[in-house]
Symmetry: D2
Subunit: 340 residues, 4 copies
């Protein structure tokens, strides 16, 4: 990797639909990085982007990027069903890969990509964006103050973009699963139960509830929906000493820390003498740097240093494992046990 | 019943902890009704109440009420574990009964009470208070405008009163189950899955998630918790034509009706052309009469007329059936099927 | 006063409309205090109260109270126009007086009452309730952390009870003026400007804006209205180091302290580098005791000890002085200067 | 104007600080329009913009634009103190002008620009953006349903960008004055009172309250501040039949219409029978097109057709007249009367 350190890293951004332009913008703004190619199968998105990024070459041919030896990396933000093929080909051709979440359509595909990247000595990083936000990083810092953790409860609902090749869980709950893993560490749920329904599309659920039984009695729950008139982006984390509310829609007060310890003297609890004492609430100042700016820089840094990214392929695989378990649970109508 | 119409109906209120004083207050304010007795095993609550209700006799002896032939009815607001015994005895002694929710500790007990009331020709009404609120009655009116129903989603969480003989579901979800039945009619869920945890008490869950699979693809979900620093009382009901948000904590805007129809032309949905059109939102004016005032009046009216109450024993039984199914699901760790 | 210490203090509550029953309830609950009389010119309120307070004598005759030598004090919650006469008579007959805000209809009347109480050695306390709330007491504690004070800005609006003998300022802004004096100390504004309008009644403004120029460049502003569909009870206090938001409608997060210091290096301020740094926000735990409970106890304590109350007649007078200045400003259409 | 209809209109955007880039972006996206020049005295903003707008020429020389005969119009978004000179020169050189609010530093300057534009037959349009929003246009439609208007009350506060050549009123209240004129028509206030303070800067107030006495008893009030930790953008308009809340920070529910008629039968108003009846609340669907997109298109359309813009120079002048009256009121410490 040594030799790259003084060079500009050239990159190709593949998939220019909803998320790709954000990758394009962020990589373009980084020092020591150049977006050499933008690629999509729909030509009509090029016109506007070409005006904004005159030094980027726009193409419908992925092969154009792959065969250009000066391009070291690709960032893939295409529909889920194409992740595996596109990433595999890029790795085979020696390119580092930043891959949109969810990583791929199955654990098997994820494992293959991980093995391939490792054998080639290439960076394979998954775009779990929330892990790079000031809010989630602050919550991570606060976790040890919470005491015994009781629950993790996420609600991620709104009128959403129904996708053609992914259900609401693969789209939205993937965020929660990556946040959960970042906060609680590399721990697999013991059991997964999911319940979802589809009303409008033929291919995947538009709304679902997932219950994850974690070690030591923690229950994580995720409610994801594309069919809610109310937009909610809210995670509650409860502990014996403190509790956290993370409301991502709050413009400047996203994280609230409740110092509401719970007294254990149950004998004394009566309707006129309830169980809780309420302490102060603190709304900490957060780093407001755009997460994708931090994340794209981190990808470039990892390419230069050879270090493992904070969200490596292994993280992507574990999230996909949870999503697969959800699908299995919905199909079988029962809880699915995961071995650790 | 004829003979009662011109008489004052005398009533005894049993259980003067958290809810009983509200029954006492409301029955005392009704025309044609007199609270002859207040009863609790804890004598120390009498002093204050005796000052406020000088014409009510306060006693620790339930028998005092039962043997008084001028008392026609009892309203029972004691802990759950005593409901069955107290109601049974009252019915056997010829008293009409208003029974706090949940009706009893098991379906078997509920059925026994129903049969007993029927054989004696007595009113057995369950105190499903929400059914008598202006908000829930307005939502009932609006149900047929919603189109195909997609979901019913309730969140009922806060720092709560941990109870000694009931779990959070028997305490809080009982409300949602009674609302659900009122809105959707006499339809039993096909399957119930519940997941709950207990961290502080030895006898029952303090937080739980319940998924109910209803007929025709509707999924109902209830999240109940005594361990949330944030207080939420919110039900979302989604339909193909309209959606409803019921936020019980809003002082004057409890019900919001979203005229957000969902277009079905999925081909045209893209990130830049999403699926929904947004219409007006209406916040209807609600009847703000206290629910318990309406409900206590209704109980008295039913005693006089002999009519079946809106929330008869059968409603209480069906709610308990759902609660039992939740407990079974949590015990067995799997979905429980209910026959219709 | 010595001799009273071991006796029950007997009190009469005069005026049983909106606020009087709260005084009745709170005095009745105090140890060492007995509400001997309730008095109102409208007999029809007695029936309900008589049931709740069987040991209180209800009467339409104020004289009944005055001539009873065992009654030491009266609490007056009648319409404003009667305050002066009722308080004066009570003081002349040797009774201590707790007087609803605003104290009287003019500064002259207030001064007369103060002089009378002093000459008789009687307690004259004004019912400036907010001064006794946990929220306002907490804000008082925090004032010295704010740095240089820049402003005090209050909005107190809703659909209100239009009163027959008081304008919206005498009704609502009286609260703000008493809070302002409690927080900033015994400082008279240098100038007052008020602008108000009346649309529905013939006797007083239903909405008004008041600007008070305080010493050292602080400007206080109060917006009071009975004609707003939105209910707001919000005071913002800005300082160079911290700022406070007091939202009285928040059920459990009434006071928010913003640690948003303002950097003074104006050269560096640009649209892309704005002036502020944002620190943490803290929502302190508050004492949630009912203010009127604290206040009625304080009145009794002052009667026993002879100590001056926290809100003596002098406070009432200064609030009335500000209200008079507002009225004068509205009448003359210009700023009114007050001598200090 | 005929001859222009089939040509591309070339435009120069002058001032590329905070607002200018938005003009650049919107004009660039219009059909039949080309941004030929971008101009600013700070060269360092060019680099980034040049990448995004490769066909625009960036220059520090205003003269470059003026002498280019193919440029028909300039859009000026520079600091207030330069508006008059830049607009005057452009008009003299035959260019149409879109001028950022506030139009100029004095009524005299505004009148000169208006006369100049008229004598040259050129379009002079003022960038009163809010007038072009879906929210304000919807409110305009609703005005006649309100009945008699009682008040217009605006709060526009936050931690703001302290400007070097404008006070908070010239910056923020200018928006309210333009909205007020759009809603109420071409009516000048009879009297203006303003009270403001400066704590940090030497040149202008950072916070102020303005009261405008309109015809027929309507009072308009504007609270503007750069020193509030809380961000508020809220206008309340009260009428005898309906009231409107416009909260510009609400992402999708900006306008709320309260059908809260006020009953006039004052005799019956008591604390237990208050004055208002509450009807439904409606949150109408709004046009969500970006205001600046509508506005830039309108400017181009006016150039082509020769029609008078919705916000012509005369509107800019009347807003500046109100701002001048505020400054005079603050200087003299009294109400300023305006002749109609």
């Amino acid at each position: 990797m040594e030799s790259h350190q003084n060079h500009i890293i050239k990159i190709g951004v593949v998939g220019l639909g909803y998320w790709g332009p954000n990758l394009l913008r962020n990589f373009s703004q980084l020092e020591g990085c150049e977006v050499a190619y933008g690629c999509d199968i729909k030509k009509d998105v090029f016109r506007k982007l070409a005006v904004q990024y005159p030094s980027t070459k726009f193409t419908v041919s992925y092969e154009d990027i792959l065969q250009d030896d000066t391009v070291q990396a690709v960032a893939i933000a295409t529909p889920l069903s194409t992740h595996y093929e596109l990433a595999k080909t890029a790795l085979e051709r020696g390119k580092h890969v930043l891959l949109e979440k969810p990583m791929a359509s199955s654990v098997v595909q994820c494992q293959e990509l991980i093995d391939l990247a490792e054998s080639k000595g290439l960076i394979l990083m998954i775009d779990h964006t929330f892990v790079y936000t000031g809010a989630v990083k602050k919550i991570k810092e606060l976790m040890q103050e919470l005491g015994d953790i009781y629950y993790f409860d996420s609600e991620r609902i709104n009128f959403g973009l129904i996708q053609h090749d992914a259900s609401v869980l693969w789209d939205l709950a993937a965020h929660d699963f990556s946040i959960l893993r970042f906060l609680f560490g590399d721990v697999r749920p013991k059991a997964v139960f999911a319940q979802g329904t589809r009303h409008l599309s033929s291919h995947g659920e538009e709304m679902a509830h997932v219950t994850l039984e974690m070690e030591s009695g923690i229950v994580a729950h995720v409610h994801a929906s594309w069919l809610s008139p109310l937009k909610i982006r809210k995670i509650l984390i409860g502990g014996s000493r403190k509790m956290i509310l993370y409301d991502d829609l709050e413009p400047s007060e996203k994280v609230k820390v409740y110092d509401k310890g719970i007294s254990l003297n149950l004998q004394n609890i009566t309707p006129f003498n309830p169980l809780y004492r309420v302490g102060d609430i603190v709304i900490p100042k957060l780093d407001t740097t755009e997460a994708l700016s931090v994340e794209t820089q981190h990808f470039i840094d990892c390419i230069r240093s050879g270090a493992e990214p904070q969200t490596p392929g292994r993280e992507g695989l574990e999230v996909v494992r949870m999503l697969e378990a959800c699908d299995q649970s919905m199909k079988e109508g029962k809880k699915v046990l995961l071995s650790s």
